[in-house]
Symmetry: C2
Subunit: 740 residues, 2 copies
Amino acid sequence: MQWAKVLGLVVGAAALLGLGIILGHFAIPKAPSTSTPQDLDLEILETVMGQLDASKIRENLRELSKEPHLASTPRDEELVQLLLQRWRDPESGLDSAVTSTYEVLLSFPSQEQPNLVEVVNSDGNILYSFQPGEENVTGEQTGPDVVQPYAAYGPPGTPQGLLVYANQGTEEDFKLLQSQGVNLTGTIALTRYGGAGRRAKAVNAAKHGVVGVLVYTDPGDINDGRSLPNETFPNSWGLPPSGVERGSFFKYFGDPLTPYLPAFHSSFRLDLNNISGTPPIPAQPIGFQDAKDLLCNLGGASAPVTWQGALGCVYKLGPGFLSDGNFPEDSQVKVSIYNHLELRNSSNVLGIIRGAVEPDRYVLYGNHRDSWIHGAVDPSSGTAVLLEISRVLGTLLKKGTWRPRRSIVFASWGAEEFGLIGSTEFTEEFFSTLQERAVAYINVDISVFANATLRAQGTPPVQSVIFSATKKIDAPGRSGLSIYDNWIQYFNRSSPVYGLIPSLGSLGAGSDYAPFIHFLGISSMDLAYTYDQSKTSARIYPTYHTAFDTFSYVDKFVDPGFSSHQAVARTAGSVLLRLSDSFFLPLNISDYSETLRSFLQMAEQGLRAQLEEHNIRLGPLVTAVEKFETAATALNQYISTLQNGNPDPLQVRAVNDQLMLLERVFLNPRAFPEERYYSHVLWAPRTGTVATFPGLANAYSKAQDTSPGSEAWAEVHRQLSIVVMAVEGAAATLRPVADL
Amino acid sequence: MQWAKVLGLVVGAAALLGLGIILGHFAIPKAPSTSTPQDLDLEILETVMGQLDASKIRENLRELSKEPHLASTPRDEELVQLLLQRWRDPESGLDSAVTSTYEVLLSFPSQEQPNLVEVVNSDGNILYSFQPGEENVTGEQTGPDVVQPYAAYGPPGTPQGLLVYANQGTEEDFKLLQSQGVNLTGTIALTRYGGAGRRAKAVNAAKHGVVGVLVYTDPGDINDGRSLPNETFPNSWGLPPSGVERGSFFKYFGDPLTPYLPAFHSSFRLDLNNISGTPPIPAQPIGFQDAKDLLCNLGGASAPVTWQGALGCVYKLGPGFLSDGNFPEDSQVKVSIYNHLELRNSSNVLGIIRGAVEPDRYVLYGNHRDSWIHGAVDPSSGTAVLLEISRVLGTLLKKGTWRPRRSIVFASWGAEEFGLIGSTEFTEEFFSTLQERAVAYINVDISVFANATLRAQGTPPVQSVIFSATKKIDAPGRSGLSIYDNWIQYFNRSSPVYGLIPSLGSLGAGSDYAPFIHFLGISSMDLAYTYDQSKTSARIYPTYHTAFDTFSYVDKFVDPGFSSHQAVARTAGSVLLRLSDSFFLPLNISDYSETLRSFLQMAEQGLRAQLEEHNIRLGPLVTAVEKFETAATALNQYISTLQNGNPDPLQVRAVNDQLMLLERVFLNPRAFPEERYYSHVLWAPRTGTVATFPGLANAYSKAQDTSPGSEAWAEVHRQLSIVVMAVEGAAATLRPVADL
């Protein structure tokens, strides 16, 4: 016994010593940083820009989109291995690559019982049955791995009823139907994509007694009206008549059963029988070919002009069919849904380059890996770019030519299509580490919708770095024009500070940046190349979430030559390098002044009078915004003073922490108790009509019609105080660090 | 107009330029830090220890306790000015001193209608009326500024009923009374201090139909039984018969009307008519002289032995009086309470020394300023020490001999006696700045209860720095013995890591450290000198919260010569210097391993079997704790490797951030939704009996008697997952910073 103990101690001590030696070896640079601090190296930047190779992106895309890779399927797992192998490659890999796997709740159609949409007559005989999926026009639309169209998280059920047409399925649409005397009770509502979110259509429908919802893509909304086979893929980029947009009908993001907890096998899970956020009634997406058979045979009054589409007939409201149509008047539509929920393992892949000087500062770059089917555009066009950027940087790293000042974390997220699940679980698992250390998050999901112009979304601090990067990169197919110069022609705004500049969109919850900005308060951006909105009214690229989103589709119609992919790779790569290598973080926090000022002005124009009637004053908010503006200007002054001097690395670190952490200050986990994850007081969803601070706008729109002293008016005041506290707190973090 | 504009621009530009120059001037050190980093200077430390002067502390105390200084009264404001003047003194002041003022809800007795406790007979005639306050034994117990005894935040009302004796007013006490057949409905309950919190006595009483509560201090609990005038102050440190402990009966801490928001004039406030956390029935504290007249005349069965006290008679239960006592049997007790709530301005005073190298790292040191009356012990003994430490450091600063590596923030909090209000509002106003930058919080409230030994409370990371400091300081009156050597004789435990060491108490919510540790997750400590528990059973120092807590009381009985005050000043001063000046932060995070391990063991012994019956497994918690231990050990190894090398300042900064931020990782704002401010998953209040993680212990004690699958058992699993996530997150932040 004694011997064993002694031996144990010796071994333990040896292990610790070894560990210490290893740590020491890796953690202490051979030569401590010298007087000239590591900063962005423009030659390296040029090298990287030059080495980002369009043909390699094309090869990546071919491989990534070769097979359908729905989340948690064998092919999805194969791609996990592909990413690991690339990021562990001895010539072009990163310092390390790992997977993290979560057990998450996904939703699938039944293999045995396909979902059905049928027209049945009064005797219950089936008159017409809809095609179960896309027509096999390129040989890639059928097969065991092509998931049939379904509404993910839509409940099973077999509702049957007369058909009505409900336009986009918004609250207003259903109200209009009722005002027209259409009896909605027990009906099946046919809606078109757009206007309201997928689940919202079902929620609004259920409120009015509708028992089942169909949703289709109108050629007027996606194909600029074109609907004939010869006008669509494979003959053009248009959506074929049989194309069906799949999608998640879940309200929130993240694993539905483990909100605020990483979805480990052992984690606490909500009761499956009362998950919140799923649609209340069965739903099914269909193609416009099937929709046409229904819509063009529908009876009842004509739908309003704005409800009409491009199916080549006058859309009517129903209920029920035309007396002289293809179906007997009293025929009903039967929707048979056999979706089921299932706990599945889904993995993220993380690849890390250790920072040379500030390894404890992370620049994150990510995209999801999972698709609905082949997902050539969504998401593989982004993953193809991600892999090319990591290859080029990995090669410089392995050659020993370069190591970033800060750490770089590449991520391939799982199960995004079901609701940003992989990225959300990641932010839950590493909440504290990221909150303390993450400088920014770069998201490139669909990298190329089309090849006309850059489109960028992000929070104000990232505007400056995107501008600097894009001014130095040539726009594809526009010789002599920079991406910036091209961009400003398509999306621009007049800034009170800068004059005419490209306009950055704000971040919703459309991709994996959502948990980073809304839950963690990390400055985030989403980058892509897209189309000329003056040339097409398409809601999104036509084959979105269909079996036609394939490699040949991208290669022939979206980006022949892949020069737009290359442009996005250069833009994202340059932004990534600038954030990871610059001595001073290239985040211009004073660009938040513009946002705050405009939110304030909207509040003053749209709310001041009404608030004052309830003794709620905007004065403190005015003061707070002024304090922010002063502190931001002074900080920028101080930064230039430092830049012109010979600053101590710790002084610059302190300033960089102010820049990095500003976004965090706008978080308040108690601001929106009813919203899951949303806690950023500037970017939470705004349902109120006044374009000001969302909490204030929303509380006001709820209080508007209530009596003075109501709880709703108290909430308006509470929301105002929350905003004042956030802006005051933001100003405080920007002031000289030894002031309170 | 144009001219005005141009002029405006010019002036604006000039102002900014000026601001820039000023910032540049102050922010850029004349000479950037050289190769040898600033570290703790033992000579400076010795100088400070030597200059901390007992007689100056005595003079501070005389001045501070000269007049009563209840929160928000004119004398409280005078002391605000005194602190400002000291901290702005050109010879011994700090870099800057400011006040921050909040509009907070306080509670006071009526000036016009004093609260009354009377015995009335069946005809309603007053037989006996109680003395309104303390006897004027030293000439300091009366006067307009001596607030009469009252239960702060207790509601007004004039309940009347038969008297019962309810011991300490715990739930068990009232259950026992009922089991004895005592009809509590409509009674007035006499309780003694101790056992349950002030408000808890009233809550428990109201549950059983009691309409009013009296609370007194039994000489057995405070004077070791002595109760005669000649045995008590001014003849000894004992509590005189007329002494009454005042106190707050509010449940939460912070301003009652603005939870989670700084209490600015314009801030949103809860509706006065439904504040939560105040006592449900009128309450009044009384002295033991009055209590004796009641208790020794009470009828009914004898109270249990454990309920007996030192009033020199057998305590009975009531209801009603003895047939042969001073009052007719059916006499009732009438309690007339005229307390009112009032919004008052209360100020904090903040004094700042800017750090030379890491000004964006704060070491905070604070105490409250407000007292109930003269408050010589509580809190002025702490403020006297605070002022002496700031004088000594300020003098070195103004002489140019010393400037700390990190910033030091001294704080004098307002309105602590009403519920830690000033400190809580401060943490709300500066939440983000403190979350990002605060290294630790040192609290010295009552600095000397008595002069036997040091008593320290804190979270594990501060143990090491307190030990290092106290080993180097002589214990007062124990020649040759260090404070550490003396301390270990009074409070000790056997640590699996260190063997026999002084035992640190854990932090509740007894003073201003509460918002720092529970709401902000800042490593905190509370330091004081106290008595020998083997020599007295006093609950606390006898004149606590009475009009007898005066300068002469301290000078004659608590600490003649002020050597214990000096010892606390040296201990707190040394800890402060070590935290603000050490190159490597002296926080030993691996001391958290011991806590986690013991919480885990208690869970395994006390819960494992029961949890497994409900399919809740401790395995993931075991793994998480092991990961933490490994990461903590490895980090300490890495730190020693760095210490033996020539580390880059940024490497040390990264390590220090890991040490500083560990405490934050244990916060989860969603862990305890029903608790206000508490979010630290290790130190939240534990009501459950198993000495393990509080959320787990409490959820288990609620679930115990519920059926499998109950919501209560789900909450047990949720709490376990929250703990696992916190410990996993803690391990992650301690791992090498470029690992995820």
